[in-house]
């Protein structure tokens, strides 16, 4: 599906706003037909990156290559990209049809062609027969579809999406995620998607780019970012995690929470401090006597599919997800199989919660 050829290359992009560094030496390539998601907490620079590609911001330093040519000086209207804005930015004085036809009219396309292509787009986004409606009369989800149609009708090489589903409710958001993915595959357009919702990023993307404080922390496909987070921040931001300080005793043996766990990682050296990440669903609850370690169930929360239990081992409080509930106050054993223990170099900076905030 994804082609090898690079469509967009960001080379050493930096951006300052009045002395504040928003982007710090960003290097990223986007291939043809790829679905790339920029993921990070608000203020991490993901939207600025998108706006630089769209032409709405100029980088303070660095190059933006589009099919090998630097487009930094090119105004937005000369770029072969289209954007879906956060709050859609539909033209309130135009009806649905005229909103979608906007780009085609500017391009001076013959009237009949415009009508045909707008109709086709309305079909694609399931809004057949809505052409004459005023955009104010539409629901949030419908406005979203009009925004998508308005961008896609111009057949851009790249579609930039700036948190397009942020204003929709959960159910609609899930539906739209699948629909966007379907459209992207059907039309073979490159998508660059910005979100702070890790689940959205994992569901839709070919490649996830995790950003924080203007830097790229990790680039990879969803599975590798989830399973092999580059550091404790990524682990914490993508999915829920138990993050602990530990010590790599030697290859394939790590000590944390007062126990020496066999693991599969190697190459850290001997007796080196490390960060250890274990996903809550990877912790197995067993009988008190047969666990590697044991602890007391502090609290139990029902989360729908599973129970979330906090288990206090005395040294650490583990967050555990399981479909089987253990009563509060009971003593249980805990087992973690070696390949579910993720070892990473300790983050020198601050606590991993630092940059995370919900919008």
């Amino acid at each position: 599906m994804v082609e090898k050829e690079h469509l967009i290359d960001l080379q050493h992009i930096s951006k300052d706003f009045d002395g504040t560094t928003v982007l710090d030496d960003i290097n990223l390539y986007i291939r043809k037909k790829e679905f790339v998601t920029l993921l990070g907490p608000s203020g991490c620079g993901k939207t600025t990156t998108l706006r630089i590609i769209g032409g709405f911001e100029y980088p303070s330093a660095g190059k933006v290559l589009f099919e090998g040519k630097d487009i930094v000086g090119l105004p937005p209207y000369k770029r072969k990209v289209n954007t879906i804005f956060q709050k859609y930015a539909l033209f309130p004085h135009l009806n649905v049809h005229d909103n979608i036809a906007f780009g085609l009219k500017i391009a001076k396309m013959p009237r009949d062609d415009i009508r045909r292509r707008v109709e086709k787009m309305l079909d694609l986004v399931n809004l057949r027969g809505y052409g004459k409606r005023s955009v104010d009369q539409l629901s949030g989800g419908q406005q979203q579809r009009v925004a998508i149609a308005r961008a896609l009708v111009n057949e851009p090489q790249v579609l930039l999406l700036d948190e397009p589903l942020g204003a929709l409710d959960l159910k609609l958001r899930k539906d739209m995620q699948l629909e966007l993915k379907r459209m992207q595959q059907a039309l073979g357009i490159t998508f660059l998607y910005v979100t702070h919702d890790q689940e959205e990023a994992l569901t839709m993307s070919d490649t996830v780019v995790v950003m924080r404080d203007g830097k790229i922390l990790q680039i990879g496909d969803p599975k590798s970012v989830y399973d092999e987070p580059a550091n404790a921040f990524v682990a914490d931001f993508i999915g829920e995690s138990n993050i602990m300080r530990g010590k790599m005793l030697y290859d394939e043996l790590v000590r944390f929470s007062g126990f020496d766990f066999p693991c599969v990682d190697a190459g850290f050296g001997q007796n080196q401090p490390v960060d250890v990440v274990v996903r809550p669903e990877d912790i197995m609850i067993v009988g008190e006597d047969v666990g590697q370690i044991s602890g007391v169930v502090q609290s139990v929360l029902f989360k729908g599919v599973h129970y979330e239990m906090m288990i206090d081992t005395g040294e650490t409080v583990f967050k555990v997800h399981s479909t089987v509930m253990q009563p509060q106050g009971s003593r249980v054993g805990i087992n973690i199989v070696p390949y579910n223990i993720h070892i990473m170099k300790p983050m020198p900076v601050d606590d991993p919660e630092g940059g995370v905030e919900e919008e």
Partner: protein
């Protein structure tokens, strides 16, 4: 104002009855709702409106349809159509041999057309000057906005008459501009006492009423829409023509209304800057009331003016059915 008000007793009673009815209804509605309704607090405004808007309009209507003795007549309106009406009446009474002297006077109609023309010119010039001004004021990137806004507001703190008189010191034969020209060895020019000077005075006085509604509609506009237009391939000209302009139409209509209405009824400016050579409809009305003391003809002229304004308002309303004209119209 020596004119005796000369109102028949029944009219006075009617006004009093209206006011009394309003007060009674107010009391009843307060009693009914066992307390003070929110609408009760609008009553000072309602009293104000009745006293200073409804009553005067009714009075104008009454005066325009009566003669000096209070009898019903349409002569006042005929007086507008034929400014020689009373003389012509006289000739007609004097006998058939004087009939040749009867000639319709077109002065009033001429003044009305002249006023409309001047108001039209003033509105067009205000729009041409005001739109770019509002556009630059609303441009966030230029950072000129607040300075320009203040520059436009400061002259409005001065009285309208003073501002107009101030122009005299600039435009007079011995005024600032002519003195400057002569000191440069150039010929002075006749700057005052012509249509141009009157127009200048009108534009100067009414320009802010064009600028601010447009400014409001432009600043209300979502900046993302301009980015969206550019994103879809529109250059700056396209963006302006297809997005900025259409979205500022409510402001434009509001501005046109705010400028055109006072322009048509302008008085004083033609007398000061036009030197009394020209007269506008406002001057004519003022003249009938204050100089001739003929309240009946003056009222008829006012009524005609009012109808014209109502017609132009309703036309403008059609163009802006949502009435979002910056909340000013």
């Amino acid at each position: 104002m020596s004119q005796n008000l000369n109102l028949p007793a029944w009219l006075v009673w009617l006004f009093l009855a209206l006011l009394a009815a309003f007060v009674v209804f107010g009391i009843i509605s307060v009693k009914r709702s066992n307390g003070i309704k929110r609408s009760f607090f609008a009553s000072p405004y309602a009293v104000w409106m009745i006293l200073f808007t409804v009553v005067p309009v009714l009075l104008i209507g009454y005066y325009s349809l009566t003669d000096a003795s209070g009898a019903f007549t349409l002569d006042n309106f005929k007086n507008f159509w034929d400014s020689n009406y009373s003389v012509n009446q006289l000739y007609a009474q004097m006998g058939p041999e004087y009939a040749v002297l009867i000639q319709r006077g077109t002065v009033n109609l001429g003044i009305l057309l002249y006023s409309l023309w001047m108001a039209f010119l003033c509105t067009v010039i205000c729009l041409a000057l005001g739109y770019p001004a509002a556009y630059f004021m609303a441009d966030r990137q230029l950072k000129l906005g607040s300075t320009l806004v203040v520059l436009f507001i400061i002259p409005m703190w001065m009285n309208f008459l003073l501002r107009t008189v101030a122009w005299m010191t600039l435009l007079e034969d011995q005024g600032l501009i002519n003195t400057l020209l002569k000191s440069l060895g150039l010929h002075g020019a006749q700057l005052m006492y012509n249509d141009g000077a009157v127009l200048l005075g009108m534009v100067y006085n009414f320009l802010p009423f064009m600028v601010f509604p447009i400014y409001t509609s432009l600043t209300k506009m979502d900046g993302k829409l301009l980015e969206a237009a550019q994103d879809l391939g529109a250059n700056h000209v396209h963006t302006f023509m297809r997005v900025t302009m259409p979205l500022s139409i409510p402001g434009i209509i509001s501005g046109i209304t705010m400028v055109f209405m006072p322009s048509v009824t302008t008085f004083f400016i033609p007398r000061i800057l036009g030197g009394g050579n020209t007269m506008m409809f406002g001057d004519l009305i003022e003249n009938r009331f204050l100089t001739e003391g003929n309240w009946n003809v003056g009222s008829a002229l006012s009524l005609i003016m009012m109808v014209l304004i109502l017609i132009s308002l309703s036309i403008l309303r059609k163009a802006d059915p949502e009435g979002e004209g910056g909340g000013i119209v």
